[in-house]
Symmetry: C2
Subunit: 200 residues, 2 copies
């Protein structure tokens, strides 16, 4: 049984949203599973001195166009939420807390939050929004609300971010196949070729 493909993403990353639409199906075509690994891009940017794309003149306008166009191509709705960029910290904390209990529900929550942010333009930064979306999946509100304040849950995310940085994850999405990193939604074709040929 091969290792899962690792899917690193930030909940505030629109290209992560696009990648999330297809990553499971792509892996399944090659009999593989996916480990979803949300992290905090902001923590990585501090190390690399990068700025969010939206703050770079010229690139910013292109990015909006490219995102809308790429979404049309794969047939999903797309809207850049306001405010953007935003820091999504409650979302990954909730994800890992849930994932330790029920991986499927954690992934369903990730999909819901991504759809809320980039499909409907909603602000998913507030913990209350994350709790509300989780509740719709049957998660206990109080338990999750408490968890989001729990130092152990905060530590869990901190460790995941440290692991991501140690693995040289500097962007979102980043897909790692058997140790080989692919950065960007636009590398899906290369990921597919890599899986098909077992490397190249």
């Amino acid at each position: 049984m091969p290792e899962p493909i690792e899917f690193y993403f930030d909940f505030s990353s629109p290209y992560g949203y696009l990648a999330a639409q297809g990553i499971d199906a792509l892996a399944a075509r090659f009999g593989r599973t996916v480990a979803w690994r949300p992290f905090l891009l902001g923590a990585v940017f501090k190390l690399t001195g990068q700025r969010p794309l939206v703050e770079v003149p010229l690139k910013r306008d292109y990015m909006r166009r490219d995102l809308a166009r790429s979404a049309r191509l794969i047939g999903v709705p797309f809207v850049l939420p306001t405010p953007f960029p935003f820091a999504a910290i409650a979302a990954p904390r909730a994800f890992y807390w849930l994932a330790d209990r029920d991986e499927g529900t954690a992934r369903a929550l990730a999909r819901r939050l991504y759809a809320a942010a980039f499909g409907e333009g909603r602000d998913i930064a507030p913990a209350a929004v994350v709790v509300e979306e989780a509740a719709r999946l049957g998660v206990d509100r109080d338990a999750l609300s408490d968890a989001l304040q729990d130092p152990e849950v905060k530590d869990r995310l901190r460790r995941e971010v440290e692991t991501a940085v140690a693995r040289q994850v500097f962007g979102s999405p980043m897909i790692i196949v058997d140790g080989e990193p692919f950065w960007g939604h636009d590398r899906f074709d290369q990921v597919a070729t890599w899986l098909e040929r077992g490397g190249y």
Copy 2:
């Protein structure tokens, strides 16, 4: 007769090198021609505050891996020259001077210089190297050497860079199809789909 597809690139851009391998064939599949438009990425970076990829920690290491891997996939040699990054100014000046006389020779020179830099790892920044490569294509050494010092030739490149910036070209390669910009070698698939469907 549709307008040519515009291919903006910097001679010091390794992703531009990769794109240069396939752009003419891609256009030809759809009965289109390509206008090659070298420019100076450094001039754009000054406006946008970007840094060369190679100066960004983490991203730098990934870039080397991604370039080598992408080159293997399309079956072309690849080596990052020393020094890198470098400023290639004589090359685009020579290109436009030649293009005004003989478009085919200008393009042949561009291919040669890209192959020298990223296929063989040679330093193509010196004007002498550009003149030498052009001479192999039958270009008169003295005429080109004089041209590279000619204020009008320098102005010509300056105007091309201004045009690129005015058209919001902020990266290399950038491919513009009927006004629609696509940034990056990894957007070839989207360019192909755009040409096939006439937009999406």
